[in-house]
């Protein structure tokens, strides 16, 4: 999985929040700092990881993503801090 990042490097980089539901992409970098960054890394969100946007809350936010087999919901603020290669 780690090599896939290299293949996609030419593609455009967007935030995880902008990933449409049903699509997947690989993590490019984490912009968050401090405890939030730590939390994201602990979830396995390291560069090269595959993520898929699954669903949006009926209230519009947060969104749920599949990360390494688990379903994790991030608020808009957090998802903006995760950059992905589409």
């Amino acid at each position: 999985m780690g090599n896939r990042q290299l293949d996609n490097q030419a593609d455009k980089i967007i935030s995880l929040y902008d990933l449409p539901v049903g699509r997947s992409a690989t993590v490019s970098s984490i912009q968050a700092e401090g405890i939030i960054r730590r939390r994201m890394l602990d979830l396995g969100l390291v560069p090269g990881t595959r993520v898929e946007a699954l669903r949006i809350s009926p209230a519009g936010d947060p969104k749920a993503y599949r990360i390494r087999g688990a379903v994790i919901a991030f608020r808009k603020e957090e998802a903006y801090q995760i950059l992905i290669n589409l």
């Binding site: 890394l41 209230a59 688990a70 379903v71 991030f74």
Partner: protein
């Protein structure tokens, strides 16, 4: 070790930290985590076989309904209504049976004391005061809790609760708090003390305090009987239990709105701050494990809360009996208090007896109506009226109630301070007298203002 060598050691350490982690950039952390994950991937890739996707993905289908734009909110409300209905309908019979058993026990105790030639006050103080209050609280509280908590734990065990947090998070984010507060709030419908304990799941201390301070705005099992009886009184004549249920659902929604508004106000004033991060796992649904549900809901929740309630109710029973039976100038202290509170009660759309009942009902909300009946009828012990018609006769014909009295009492019951058990729990959980006091004063202030405004405007507009 001298101070000098200590600071030299510290300097050396800080230099080492700087070398490994230049400018605190956490690059070291990142590379450690990356290495761990790629090594773990390597290992699992070699030894773990993954089964292909099942044909029918139940988790996805279920989530498509439960978190959908159309069915998301209605399905939550419906589920909540069903649990209430099961709780209220299922608790009636065991509650009655327990009450009968306890009052049989009371007669035996009285007979025993009589046989021992004990003075009358001994029977009054211990049996009609302490024993009766305890019996009341246990028989009214235990059955609903023993039904509500297993239902709630069932949903928890199946993995449904994180979906509620997922659905409602945006509302709580706008109020400056955490989505998990929707869970502690739902728990509060069972018991506010249990809801306050549940606030431990919220990590940020600021958001946890807000959740604790506002938990009281959803009516607990102890207040539902009061709300249901008053709603029944309001729609009397329209003769449907359905319209009474609508009123109760309206009260519940008012409570949820109040929770959000007060949370927002708190996070703009006393507990200023921005909402912390929200990373919530939506775990796969799974078959509930009945044994675990029962042990967790009965032992960890029901009995835990009941023990605290009993500890509060016993002394309360003694005090209430004394107030109702010690007479000064031919009138009981209770009646003196009610007379003194009467003008204030009138301002709030109620009367002195109702305020007195709320004051004495501090230990447990379920004894508010029994105390009110006791003081209206001047009986000296807590009593229960068996029919709504008898209740209406007493309230409307003999004590001049209007619809405004009933509505104000419902709102006051919804908004006023949490019960003694909950306050005690808030003190234990927050470790702070200041926040415990605010947990009582903020709701009380809101209840007084809301009732005052409603009563005064209704009178000005000539609605009553």
């Amino acid at each position: 070790m001298s101070r000098g060598s200590l600071s030299a050691d510290l300097n050396e350490l800080m230099q080492e930290v700087n070398r490994l982690n230049p400018g605190s950039s956490l690059k070291l952390n990142d590379s450690i985590v990356c290495t761990i994950y790629s090594r773990a991937e390597e290992i699992t890739g070699g030894i773990v076989l993954r089964r292909g996707k099942p044909k029918f993905d139940w988790d996805k289908k279920l989530d498509d309904v439960i978190t959908s734009r159309v069915f998301g909110f209605p399905s939550m409300l419906l589920l909540l209504a069903v649990i209430f209905w099961i709780t209220v309908a299922g608790a009636n019979i065991p509650s009655e049976m327990m009450a009968t058993a306890f009052f049989w026990g009371q007669e035996r105790l009285t007979a025993l004391l009589h046989w021992l030639h004990a003075p009358a006050w001994v029977n009054g103080f211990f049996v009609e005061g302490i024993y009766r209050c305890l019996a009341w609280v246990v028989s009214v509280m235990l059955p609903p809790m023993a039904i509500f908590f297993p239902c709630f734990t069932l949903l928890e065990d199946m993995g449904y609760l994180p979906r509620i947090a997922f659905n409602l998070d945006n509302l709580f984010k706008k109020a400056g708090t955490h989505g998990k507060q929707s869970l502690t709030m739902s728990m509060g419908f069972g018991c506010n003390a249990a809801g306050v304990i549940a606030c431990r799941i919220i990590e940020s201390p600021r958001e946890r305090l807000i959740a604790m301070l506002t938990n009281n705005f959803v009516p607990c099992n102890g207040r539902f009987p009061t709300l249901i009886a008053l709603a029944g009184l309001l729609v009397m004549g329209m003769a449907t239990s359905l319209s009474a249920s609508f009123i109760v659902v309206g009260v519940v929604l008012t409570g949820i709105m109040t929770t959000l508004v007060v949370s927002w106000l708190l996070s703009k004033t006393l507990l200023k701050g921005v909402p912390s991060s929200f990373t919530l796992e939506l775990p796969p649904y799974r078959k509930p494990q009945l044994g675990r549900i029962i042990t967790r809901s009965i032992f960890d929740r029901t009995l835990f809360v009941l023990r605290r309630a009993v500890l509060v109710a016993a002394p309360a029973g003694a005090v209430i009996w004394l107030l109702a039976n010690v007479h000064i100038g031919g009138v009981s202290i209770l009646a003196h208090g009610a007379n003194w509170l009467h003008p204030f009660g009138q301002l709030l759309g109620m009367d002195g007896y109702i305020l007195m009942a709320f004051l004495l009902g501090l230990p447990a909300n379920e004894i508010v109506i029994p105390i009110l009946l006791m003081s209206y009828m001047a009986t000296g012990t807590m009593i229960e009226l068996d029919s709504l018609e008898a209740l209406r006769q007493l309230f409307v014909a003999e004590h001049g109630w209007t619809w405004l009295t009933a509505v104000c009492m419902m709102l006051f019951s919804l908004l006023h301070y949490p019960c003694g058990t909950t306050l005690w729990t808030i003190f234990k959980e927050s470790g702070s007298l200041k926040w415990t006091a605010l947990a009582a004063l903020i709701p009380l202030g809101i209840a007084v203002i809301v009732c005052f405004v409603l009563a005064q405007s209704a009178r000005l507009l000539g609605w009553v």
